[in-house]
């Protein structure tokens, strides 16, 4: 899932600025699961902002709502009427949600309430870790299901650098060395020979380096009549 974390209250206040009517808009999918921007967080952020702006003698009308997914038009359209009357939408969706709002409601001013951080999973309660870099050309079949693009600090493809020690990465004791993990896993599966092959440079065109990406599925597209 997409993992995000909330911006600090001070930054949210700055982003809202002079606006009088504010809608804090939560999202019911990824950011709900990571406790950053669901209905509960939207209510808390709205209430914190009400208190903070009231203390400054600036009584704003701050409401909150949450849609199932900010990244799909059909869900966003459910708040179309509400948004019409608003000075600023503070989106607690990921960066996709913020942009979807800007695109669907060209007259609305939208600002981000979250920092979209990574694609990952909760390793344990309250701890989320990155797992995928969405490089567009998955190599997990070569590395025992552990991604060196996302999890090695240098995205190396031919084994660890010289900074791997006692199982952790040189940049931080809290970061496991991805290549140590890959080595251990392939060893446990008796597949260490997979590490001996020299892997060629990656074609990064499928990643962000090839420019903004797009998938078109002709089999799923609507015909002119259907649309």
């Amino acid at each position: 899932m997409i993992v995000a974390e909330q911006k600090k209250l001070d930054e949210l206040k700055t982003l809202i600025g002079e606006a009088e009517k504010v809608l804090v808009l939560g999202c019911g999918t990824c950011v709900t699961v990571c406790f950053a921007g669901g209905a509960r967080e939207a209510a808390i952020v709205a209430s914190s902002l009400r208190m903070a702006t009231k203390l400054n003698g600036d009584d704003k009308a701050i409401s909150d709502a949450t849609v199932q997914r900010q990244c799909e038009w059909e869900y966003l359209d459910q708040v179309a009427e509400q948004i019409k009357d608003i000075d600023v939408v503070l989106s607690l969706g990921c960066g996709i949600g913020v942009q979807a709002i800007a695109e669907r409601f060209p007259q609305a001013w939208v600002v981000p309430g979250l920092n979209t951080t990574f694609l990952g999973l909760p390793e344990e309660q309250g701890v989320w870790v990155e797992r995928c870099a969405a490089c567009g050309d998955c190599i997990l079949g070569l590395t025992g299901g552990i991604c060196p693009i996302a999890r090695c600090s240098k995205s190396l493809l031919n084994g660890p650098c010289g900074g791997s020690e006692d199982g952790h990465c040189e940049i931080n004791l809290d970061i496991p060395c991805a290549w140590q993990l890959i080595y251990d896993r392939l060893q446990s599966m008796d597949r260490l020979d997979m590490l001996l092959e020299v892997r060629p440079p990656k074609n990064w065109r499928t990643s962000r380096d090839g420019g903004p990406r797009k998938i078109v599925r002709p089999d799923l597209r609507l015909t002119e009549e259907e649309a």
């Binding site: 240098k154 084994g159 010289g162």
Partner: protein, 341 residues
Amino acid sequence: MEKQLEQVKENTNGYLAGSNLEKVLCAGHFAATGELGPPQSADGEVIRKKAALLRGFVDAVNLTDNQTAIVRMSSIGAGTILVQEGLEPIIQMTCRDRNRLAIQSDLLGAYALGMRNLLCLTGDHQTFGNHPGSKNVFDMDSVQMVQMVAEMRDKKVFQCGDAFKGQEPRFFVGAAESPFAGPVEFRPYRLAKKIRAGANFVQTQLIFDVPAFDKFMQKVRELGLHKQAFILAGVGPLKSPAMARHMKENVPGILLPDELVQRMNAAGAPWAGKKLEEMSKEEKKARMDAFKEEGIKICIETIQQLRQIEGVAGVHIMAIEWEEAIKPIVQGAGLYPRPVL
């Protein structure tokens, strides 16, 4: 060296690149390379001064590439000055700061400027350095870089496969290995990959624990790697007990036996129990000199032990910001004068 002789022989009298380092190694001499850290400034005089300390004592000199991710004069810029000074550079190139376009174009320039040795490195992560907010590159890794530059030379093609229309860059290609970094059991195989990718010589991380390195070399010999590339063991003089402790505790891939920390401590015994602020300037200097003398002595002993290990073709002496130490180390280890070929 079998592999060397089989390879391309045109333009370079049968050598791959024809560098002094390649000739010294191919002639069977025990090689000695040094290292020079370019300044954090545009002052070429710094390079010239350091070059004077190294001239005649080493076969070639590594020029670091923004080591520890701190911006310094480029290795190729500093290498150009070294060529002017009559010393032979080994250009270091990391994967951190350049993509495959930049690496190749810089190497074309480096070759045109007279550089013939290249050491391909992954590079320290930029969060260590003085621009931690910078974007890193890592378009390719060090194994892939080795392969790319070897193929530029041997197949006369760019990484994309396009053929050179003019002179191809012909480098004596080096790789690094850190024998004690993790996973330790994989390190000889990682070295094998680099050699398979085309590395002609190898320089290792600093070795202080010779018996542990001997074990690594045993595996290297089992894999036959010492017959496919020249392996230069990394050594360096300790400057103080504090440096010894720092290396032991903080630098990944360095094994430093307690005995060496104790020897460094013992060198300061005459001043033991004295606080730094109680010591006169002369005493401080005398103590520092005693530490340095012991550090050089340990380094010389280490070289002599490494020389006994089958498959060790030379030493790479890293005395960064202490280039004065190279002369006594090379002389003390019986490696002076250097062969003139």
